[in-house]
Symmetry: C2
C-alpha cells in the first residue's frame, strides 16, 4: 500500500510541477497563488504543501531541476574529442534541442530569478555558471589552438547563449522550419561568429568519427 | 491655471509610467495592482485612471511608446549610405545603446506581451515587424551585393536581435566593460556572423565619410 501511495504521490508531484510551469509562464510567479495551482491540478491546497512547503520552494525546485537537467543533458551529449569545433557544434545542438523542448520552463527560469531569495539565487547562478563555463572552455581552447577568432571569451559565450535560447521566442514546431533546419542555420551562424576556420559540415563529420 | 494643471498632469503621467515600468519589471504585470502603483507615485488610485482608464491601457501605452521610441531612434541613427556594412554597424550601435538605457522597459516589452488583448498585441507586433524589417532589408541587400554570407535572412535577423538585446541581462554600467567596449565586441561578432567581407574598423570609417 505504501508503494502505491508513493507512486500516486510522485504522479501528483509531477502534475504540480507541470501545472506550475504553465501557470508561472502565463501569469508570472508573483501573480500565481498556491490555491490557483491546487485547483489546476485538482487537489486540495493542503496537498501541495506536502510537496512544496512554500511557493518559493516550488519555484526554486523548478529552476534547480531545469538547470540540473541542462547540465545532465550536456554531460551526455559532450563529445570525447578535444576538437573545439566538434565540441562547440555539440554544445549548440544540445542547447537548442533542450530548450525547444522546455519552452515554458526556460521562460520561467529566465524571468523569475528576481523572485528567489538571495541564498537560492546564488545556488541557481552557480549552476548557470557551471554550464556557461563549459562553453567558455570550448571557446578558449578553440582560440588558443588557433581554430577560433575571439575578442572576448565571456561576451562571446553570453552572446551565443542568448542567441540560441532566443529560438524559443519565435520557434513553433510545424511552421516554416524543422528543428533540424533551425539547428543547422544556428550552427553555421555560430561557427562564423567565432571565426571558425572549418565549415560546419566538416565539424559534423569530425564528431561522427 | 489650465496650463499649470496640464504641466503638473504631464509630470504625474511621466511619474506613473516610470513607476509602472519599475513595478512590472519587478513583480510582473499580473501581480501589480493599480492601487500599489498609485501608492508608489504618491497619488490617489482615482488619479491614475484619469491617465490610464485600465491597467491594460497602461501596459499597452508603455509597450507602444517603447517600440515607437526604438523606431524613432533608428530613424535618426540610420545612415544615408547604401553600404550594407555601414548600415548594419549603425543598426547594432543604435540597438545596443537604446536598450541599455531602457533595461526595465525592455524587460517589460519582452515579457508581458502575454497580457495584451489580441487587438493590442497585433498593434505591438506590427511595430516590432517594422523594426525587424529594417534589419532584414540590410541583411538582404548585403547578401545580394555579395558583402554578406547569409543562409536565412529571417533567422539571422532574429539571432542578431536576441543576441544584442541579451546585453541588458548581464551588462551593468561601471563594471568590467564600458558600453563602447561592449558595442565594439558585438560589432565584430555581428560582422563575423553575417560573413562580412570587410572588417568593422573599415565599416566605421565608411560611415564617417
Amino acid at each position: 500500500m505504501a508503494r502505491t501511495t508513493g507512486s500516486d504521490g510522485e504522479k501528483t508531484e509531477a502534475a504540480v510541477r507541470e501545472a506550475a510551469v504553465g501557470l508561472i509562464a502565463r501569469l508570472g510567479y508573483e501573480a500565481m497563488s498556491m490555491r490557483q495551482l491546487a485547483a489546476e491540478v485538482g487537489v486540495q491546497a493542503a496537498a501541495l504543501y506536502r510537496y512544496f512547503p512554500t511557493k518559493e520552494e516550488l519555484l526554486f525546485t523548478l529552476m534547480r531541476e531545469h538547470m540540473e537537467g541542462l547540465l545532465e543533458s550536456w554531460g551526455t551529449a559532450r563529445p570525447i574529442t578535444p576538437d573545439p569545433v566538434a565540441r562547440l557544434a555539440a554544445y549548440v545542438e544540445n542547447h537548442i534541442a533542450f530548450h525547444i523542448e522546455r519552452r515554458h520552463a526556460t521562460h520561467v527560469s529566465n524571468m523569475e530569478l528576481r523572485s528567489l531569495s538571495h541564498e537560492r539565487l546564488t545556488q541557481i547562478l552557480k549552476l548557470r555558471t557551471a554550464y556557461e563555463k563549459e562553453l567558455r572552455a570550448i571557446l578558449r581552447d578553440g582560440a588558443e589552438a588557433g581554430a577560433f577568432e575571439i575578442d572576448d571569451v565571456g561576451l562571446t559565450a553570453m552572446a551565443l547563449i542568448q542567441m540560441m535560447t532566443g529560438v524559443i521566442v519565435w520557434f513553433r514546431p510545424g511552421e516554416r522550419l524543422s528543428i533540424a533546419e533551425v539547428t543547422t542555420t544556428y550552427l553555421s551562424m555560430t561557427m562564423r561568429l567565432v571565426g571558425a576556420k572549418i565549415a560546419y559540415s566538416d565539424a559534423r563529420q569530425l564528431r561522427m568519427r
